[in-house]
């Protein structure tokens, strides 16, 4: 029997816990991405405070106006200001992303950890569940559910999307848990009398946090995309505004053909900016979490 190297018995040297925030804040990709997201969110939230509810209504502005001082991003054919719509659309789209990504990541982590750590029958059962959810095309189900529930609200939409966002993280977490649980520090923890839950949350989970963070951002992007996709099909929340819904009405009411470029281009550009920013944060997180990349970065 080989002797156990001291380093492996000692607490795992996964992430330099203290320095992570400093590292992140020194990472240019992360800071730029985060700054863009915060600026978008703050500008729209603060902007929303200055908008009189009456200004959100159809007919509040002259219809079909190109951008001017009165409506800096122009107006729709029903006389709504595109800029004012954004103050609701951006936070709502982010809310969809946030709820769906949180739900997907948390459910995924719990199922993945349980499946990987406990093994046996629990694993067999959960693995089937994961495989089923991985093999069905989520958009198909989302379209089906959304069309059955016609007239959904923004949070309901987010919940539906989130319920289909957990299978990938579950599988990834499960495989990590499978490998980690055989490592000696886990065996040491078990020998020292730690309970299963304690081991899972105190020994296994910390190793996966950076990965889960990256997955969260990925799911965030996917959820916003899914929401836009469903909304463009006319299955989104009708009385609320998201970037996808803005695009739906713009397309539905012939904005492209009538050259109302400000109407359809605005949500398109904002979706792109939002994706880019989230991707930058993701890259930053990856570089910090992955020491190999950090060394080169």
């Amino acid at each position: 029997m080989a002797t156990i190297p001291v380093e492996e018995i000692a607490h795992p040297p996964v992430v330099p816990q203290l320095g992570i925030l400093t590292h992140l804040l020194h990472n240019r990709k992360f800071t730029i991405g985060l700054a863009v997201i915060l600026v978008l969110l703050l500008v729209s939230l603060i902007g929303a405070q200055f908008v009189d509810p009456a200004e959100r209504r159809t007919g509040a502005f002259p219809a079909r106006q190109s951008p001017s001082w009165d409506a800096i991003l122009g107006t729709t054919s029903l006389g709504q200001s595109v800029a004012i719509q954004l103050t609701q659309a951006i936070p709502n789209s982010m809310l969809v992303g946030f709820i769906a990504a949180t739900l997907g990541t948390v459910i995924g982590a719990i199922i993945g950890l349980a499946s990987g750590y406990f093994g046996g029958k629990v694993d067999a059962l959960l693995r089937i569940l994961i495989d089923v959810f991985l093999s069905v095309p989520p958009l198909l189900f989302l379209i089906l559910i959304a069309s059955l529930l016609r007239g959904v609200s923004v949070p309901t939409m987010a919940l539906i999307i989130g319920l289909f966002a957990w299978a990938w993280p579950a599988r990834a977490v499960r495989s990590q848990a499978l490998s980690l649980k055989e490592r000696q520090f886990v065996q040491v923890a078990r020998l020292s009398g730690m309970g299963d839950l304690e081991i899972v949350f105190r020994e296994l989970l910390p190793h996966m946090l950076t990965w889960l963070g990256a997955n969260f951002l990925n799911a965030f992007i996917t959820a916003i995309l899914a929401e836009s996709g469903l909304s463009i099909l006319g299955l989104g929340p009708q009385r609320d505004t998201t970037l996808g819904i803005m695009l739906y009405w713009a397309l539905r009411y012939g904005s492209i053909l009538q050259n109302f470029w400000w109407w359809w281009l605005t949500p398109v550009i904002l979706l792109m900016v939002l994706f880019l920013a989230l991707y930058l944060v993701h890259l930053g997180l990856d570089e910090v979490g992955n020491p190999r990349l950090r060394a080169h970065g």
């Binding site: 054919s77 006389g79 007239g151 463009i232 006319g234 009708q238 009385r239 492209i256």
Partner: protein, 584 residues
């Protein structure tokens, strides 16, 4: 160059948006464009194999069934005022109006060569009477006692009550005014079917000039029949060899297809004025009824909001009147219709012939100015029944296949919300949408009120069409809103017993009936309806326009058949109108 790029982008986005619904043209390749009349329909056809015009779930219009497969006794040209004999030659009421004898045209045959006779008429009425699930059945049972064959070309229809207006009742008599009418079926085909409700009739036998060539969810192709009876009797052949009803996608796809000459016409409500003007800028061969604003032909069916009279608190007239006062109709016209129509305070079109009816009730309109936007008055009305705006939640059902309804719903929901009323917009499509309306599963929903004749439109509010919530009403505007007032019924019955030209006798009764109607306000009048129907003159000419108003510019009504073929002038017998190949 820039324009080219923009168009590529447009096409690309169009493809993205309609990707899953892109029409499959593969099976329609031999159909040549120059021989084809292509009409855009607003949505996919739910079940293209179901061509049983009387079955729930079939589409009589987007499939061309009532335009080109079947034909009707008479066609009412509302534009010229002519009542055009077609499958029938004439009708005559008995002196007490309790029966009507119809003389059928000699020489009419079904598409399988069998003659069209009185037997088919008797059979159809009896089939409808025996099968309450069939469309038109309820209406036939209420109006018709029995139908007798006099000889092979004469039928006698016995009515339950004396009714000198029976020939205007499109639901119980095969005369088309607007939309469609009761359809006579070939006895020799249908008598073999055990259940006329489940019979799919995928290859329908009709008398019309076209037969079904193929049908898919994306559209139907019809092919001209060279053995059509009209070719022998009238010596006329319809110009298009094929007629295609095709789903190309939403507004911008329709606009693109029209610009590129991929379409010859479209359904009502597919193009807004702004988009239409873009199309005409791209393709000068496309026009509508008028060359300038409003472009649209005044459709006979004004738009109203059906309010569910059986759903509290909407069972209270005060609540319905309050909702009416909260709607700023001019804003709806300006925003949703881009100024192509006018606000409505009643439920008939402002045609010249209807003006005496509008004038006769001017005093009632003054007493109930329900079309004025007056939030203060609305609050008073609500307070009078102990309600506040925030107590009310309106479930507003919207047909998500209809851009016009969607636009109106956005504007109206905002107006009601502004007044403090809670509005839940529920978009529905296809059969779910039809079901919700007929079964009364809504608080509010937009609906055309047809046929647009003042007296017949009041009949829509008769409680003989009333069914409890959860059961299907006979037709959408035939009391899906569930109004029930015997006092009003009696007045309508009085009017219906008078011949349509007895205006002097009708008007006093009409006045009394409208006094009740405005007091109760069972539905909320909204706007007159603009029928902005684009016609493309590239392949076909002869389309009706304001300069040549020989027919109504319709593509979705049964009358469309006559737009394509033309018809013999009822007075002179001379052939009028019809489409011809452009430049031919």
């Amino acid at each position: 160059m820039q324009r080219y790029k923009l168009w590529s982008l447009v096409v690309l986005l169009g493809l993205l948006v309609t990707g899953p619904a892109a029409p499959a043209f593969a099976d329609q390749q031999e159909v040549t464009r120059a021989e084809t009349l292509k009409i855009a329909i607003p949505a996919q056809i739910t079940d293209p194999t179901n061509l049983n015009i009387y079955a729930a779930g079939s589409d009589r219009s987007a499939t061309g069934l009532h335009q080109f497969i079947y034909e009707y006794f008479f066609y009412n040209n509302l534009q010229t005022g002519e009542f055009i004999p077609w499958l029938a030659e004439s009708y005559e009421y008995s002196t007490d109006n309790t029966s009507m004898t119809v003389k059928l045209r000699d020489g009419v045959t079904w598409s399988d060569g069998q003659p069209f006779t009185a037997d088919d008429v008797v059979f159809t009425y009896e089939l409808l009477a025996k099968n309450p699930g069939m469309g038109n059945s309820a209406e036939v049972t209420k109006a018709v006692k029995s139908v007798e064959k006099v000889d092979s070309l004469n039928v006698k229809i016995n009515l339950i009550t004396g009714n000198p207006r029976f020939h205007l009742n499109r639901e119980a008599f095969p005369a088309v005014g607007i939309w469609g009418a009761l359809t006579i079926l070939p006895k020799h085909i249908w008598e073999k079917e055990a259940d006329p409700l489940t019979f799919k009739n995928s290859d329908p036998v009709g008398t019309g000039p076209y037969r079904v060539r193929d049908a898919s969810q994306n559209g139907v192709t019809l092919e001209r029949r060279d053995d059509w009876w009209g070719t022998k009797v009238f010596e006329v052949t319809p110009a298009p060899r094929f007629v295609q009803f095709t789903f190309v996608g939403d507004e911008q796809n329709v606009a693109l297809a029209l610009s590129n000459n991929d379409l010859d016409a479209a359904w009502i409500g597919l193009l807004s004025a702004g988009t239409f003007q873009q199309v005409t800028a791209q393709n000068p061969n496309v026009r509508a009824w008028t060359q300038e604003l409003p472009f649209a032909w005044p459709d006979p069916c004004p738009r109203g909001l059906m309010i569910n009279n059986d759903n509290p608190p909407f069972d209270k007239p005060e609540v319905r009147q309050a909702l009416s006062h909260l709607i700023d109709r001019q804003a709806v016209v300006d925003l949703a219709y881009e100024g192509t129509t006018t606000p409505a305070w009643n439920i008939w079109p402002e045609y010249d012939g209807n003006i005496p009816y509008s004038e006769a009730i001017a005093d009632i309109h003054e007493q109930y100015p329900i079309d004025t936007f007056d939030p203060a008055r609305a609050e008073e009305l609500l307070a009078s029944v102990g309600l506040q705006p925030s107590d009310i939640t309106v479930r507003y059902v919207v047909n998500a296949d209809n851009v016009e309804e969607q636009k109106n719903s956005q504007v109206i929901a905002d107006q009601l919300t502004a007044a403090g009323i809670n509005v839940e917009v529920q978009p529905l499509t296809g059969n779910a949408n039809a079901d919700a309306r007929l079964k009364g599963d809504f608080d509010m929903t937009q609906q055309p009120f047809c046929p647009g004749y003042p007296v017949e439109n009041l009949e829509l509010f008769h409680s003989k069409y009333y069914v409890p919530l959860g059961e299907s009403a006979p037709w959408f505007e035939r009391n899906s809103f569930r109004y029930n007032n015997p006092e009003f019924d009696a007045l309508v019955d009085q009017m219906l017993a008078l011949p349509p030209d007895a205006t002097d006798q009708i008007l006093p009764v009409f006045h009394d009936a409208m006094a009740i109607w405005y007091r109760d306000l069972p539905i909320i009048p909204l706007v007159e309806t603009p029928a902005l129907v684009p016609f493309n003159f590239t392949y076909w000419e002869g389309w009706p326009t304001s300069e040549d108003p020989w027919n109504m510019p319709v593509t979705w009504w049964a009358t469309t058949g006559l737009v394509v073929t033309g018809y013999p002038d009822p007075a002179t017998g001379e052939w009028v109108g019809g489409l011809e190949p452009a430049g031919g």
